[in-house]
Symmetry: C2
Subunit: 129 residues, 2 copies
DNA sequence: TTAGCTGTTATGTTTAGTATATAACAGTAT
DNA sequence: ATACTGTTATATACTAAACATAACAGCTAA
């Protein structure tokens, strides 16, 4: 797993770690029951305090993404596929809500939004199927 | 102008004020050269420190939204319509980028995104024209 | 069993950002 | 002058984030 963090970002380090691990899990890069790096190892790799990594792991456990066993380590939790799909959908919905909020205020219509979508899609090599 | 702030929000108060004023300007609710509430007045209305309002006004001036004259007050800056349109477009683009990033990782296709869009649009009474 | 990994907990410190209060000063307008 | 505007300086309080250090506890393989 490749985690890149930026300490100049306004996003807290522990939050960046959470996001990276969530993404790795949800994309399948990290598989069920797979071992996560130990808090101290990851902290050393990222040159940060193990407490920061622990905070990320603690919250990931609270959210059901991983399981931690004292003395053994942290593992990817057996996942509730439906639940995680739901979570992803909610993320997209949030962005769509923001877009629509902006569009309503400034009288931007659907076709303009589609234009932007198509533009970004081509920039990002996203297949419009 | 009606500004509502929440002190329980994780978004700083000065940021909430900035957003509210930006929106009011860009939507046309506040017109060019129109007088903004004085820092002390707005602070009183919102029951916060005038320094917090001043911070918001200072940043709005830096970003070109308003002009402040000592002894007179703050006014909506003559706007560069094209520039502001660009800024709005950039905001939408950011959300679209996030959506596409998520869609790529989890193999969500355009029609699923459209479904979400249509769902939110109907919820939010957004005309799909 | 012990060494060396794991995670856990406690304590204290530092830093940056946000928000505040207060006071004094400066420009504008009537 | 008075009463509005904005400006500046100083000091304080609070919080979140991140850190360092130390000590403790569970697991496992040599």
């Amino acid at each position: 797993m490749n985690i890149i963090i930026s300490n100049s970002s306004s996003v807290p380090i522990y939050e960046q770690i959470k996001q990276a691990i969530k993404t790795a899990i949800l994309s399948g890069e990290l598989k069920e029951d797979e071992n996560l790096p130990s808090v101290r190892n990851l902290a050393n790799d990222l040159r940060i305090s193990f407490l920061t990594v622990k905070k990320a792991y603690d919250e990931l456990e609270e959210e059901g993404y991983i399981k931690t066993i004292q003395g053994k380590g942290s593992f990817v939790a057996p996942k509730n596929i439906e639940l995680m799909k739901e979570e992803r959908r909610r993320e997209i919905e949030k962005h769509v809500e923001e877009i629509i909020k902006i569009a309503k205020i400034y009288n931007i219509n659907k076709s303009e939004i589609d234009d932007i979508f198509n533009y970004i899609a081509s920039e990002e090599d996203f297949d419009i199927n």
